[in-house]
């Protein structure tokens, strides 16, 4: 007997007052799973991620306008010239944040997060831009202006951005 292997259901849609599609009221639906695997390059900002394994927090500076980019930008978008690497202390101040009550499960690291979690924008000391990352802290205690620092994790991660997150400065 012929069969469809994917999960299937067949619905009868009511044509209602508009009978234009009365002949097409039978609807079949399938459950399909599509998965893709990529080789993903971190390109010219790779060194940022490699240095996290050495517990060093890197940013880039534009030699022309002196802006310091964290996250790093290999190209200064204002001057259109290549930047160079500088190391930051990894301390900073929360500028704004949200308290997220669901995890989008974007990867295994994110799927493992305990909700609610704090998604913070931090002005690192010495930087010109805000660095977005998780702030592992009691959401009720987090405020704009709070001092935080980069914390280096020890356990294995899927994406190297999870080698760090922010924690409050004690």
């Amino acid at each position: 007997m012929p069969d469809v292997k994917s999960k299937k259901d067949i619905l009868q849609i009511e044509a209602g007052e508009d009978s234009l599609w009365a002949d097409f009221g039978q609807v079949e639906r399938l459950t399909l799973s599509l998965t893709q695997t990529y080789t993903h390059t971190l390109g010219r900002y790779s060194r940022f991620f490699i240095e996290l394994e050495n517990q060093r927090f890197m940013a880039t500076r534009c030699g022309r306008c002196q802006r310091v980019y964290a996250p790093p930008r290999p190209l200064c978008p204002d001057c259109l010239c290549p930047t160079y690497w500088v190391e930051l202390a990894g301390t900073g101040t929360v500028q704004t944040f949200s308290v997220q009550h669901f995890s989008p499960g974007s990867n295994a690291d994110v799927a493992a997060l305990k909700t609610p979690y704090v998604f913070a924008y931090v002005l690192l000391d010495g930087a010109s831009t805000l660095f977005p990352h998780l702030l592992i802290a009691d959401p009720a205690q987090v405020t704009v202006g709070m001092r935080v620092r980069v914390h280096y994790v020890q356990q294995p991660v899927e994406h190297p951005i999870h080698l760090i997150h922010f924690i409050p400065v004690e």
Partner: protein, 399 residues
Amino acid sequence: MKRVPVVVGIGMTRFAADRPDCNPRDLLTDAVLALLADAQLQDLKAVQHGLCSYESDHFNKQMTLAAILHDQIGLTPVPNVRIEGGGATGALALRTAWAYVQSGLCDSILVYGCETNGRGVSSQTANQLFALSADFDWEMMIGGTYTGFYAAMMRAHMQRYGTTAEQFAHVAVRNRRNARFNPLAQKPMELTIADVLASRPVAEPYRLLDCSLLSDGAAVMLLATEEWARAHSAKFTARPAVYFSATGCGTDTMRLGDRYPELTNFRAKRAAAQQAYQMAGITDPLHQIDVAELYDSYSGVEIQAVEDLGFVPAGQGGASVASGMFDLDGELPVNTDGGLLGRGAPVGATGIAQAAEIALQLWGEADPRRQVAGARRGLTDTHAGIATLSVVNIFERRD
């Protein structure tokens, strides 16, 4: 004025969380049949160009959807182009059509938008797919979501200007109430501010009822030179002429953190509005615009929008919204059809649906319970990301 496009007709499906009876081509079919009825056209054979508006190959499970849809509605062999601009796709599609007509490339162009963002995927898959439109390594991989980015902006707005959750809840209540008068709206609701504040937190300060909808749906708009419209649509001469008179577009950095120190508002939206106002000769938008469709992806975003569009000064969005200034009986009614919160938002169709509502309002053909009396000029505000790309389009009735 010779080549300023006119609106020949509009067509829309009902927007819904789930349309199991329709795939994208079925949805578009229904919108096109609605257009034929609206413009009193027999077919599309005189239309000179197609313009397909959809955002996501992932949600639609199809690349080259433009080719499939163009074929579906019998537009071959006329030229076609597909426009993608994130959340602003539909508005950017109309803006592109404006340029195609103005340039003389064609005298008529069908802008057709369609998206299946509804329950074809789980909400977790939907979040993952939308997160792909964030910066992959720096935002998506840490669990960032657009709800979270918008929420962080709103927190900064609250911090700087004293904007309150009650004020943005007003938007959530009003837009869903407006949707009650729109039979094509996805989620008409009668709510109170207390209901919004009691809904579960999603990304604080935003709660469930502050968030807009994921939808399946399609919307189309036929634009043409006035000469083409007169020659091909009897309906065009039977109702007041509505011109697509001005358009503006602005952009901003991909990541919010790169906009520091501005975290509260949308620079791209200010730029888009400025261009459109200049083109339309508008110097006092609050009084020179009669009706507007604002991009209320989250309730507080409307508060930011009324500031960036120059309706009220920066910081006064919260108080002005809460005062009822933008309600149906207010000074400048907005989101009369329910907005993204009440009407719904199938991305590629959203900007076109907004423009369709403005056309209805200017023709005087909206449901009487949401019709703005004597509306002569209307605006649509649509953006992508956290206003990473922003489009403002202006329509005017001339008779």
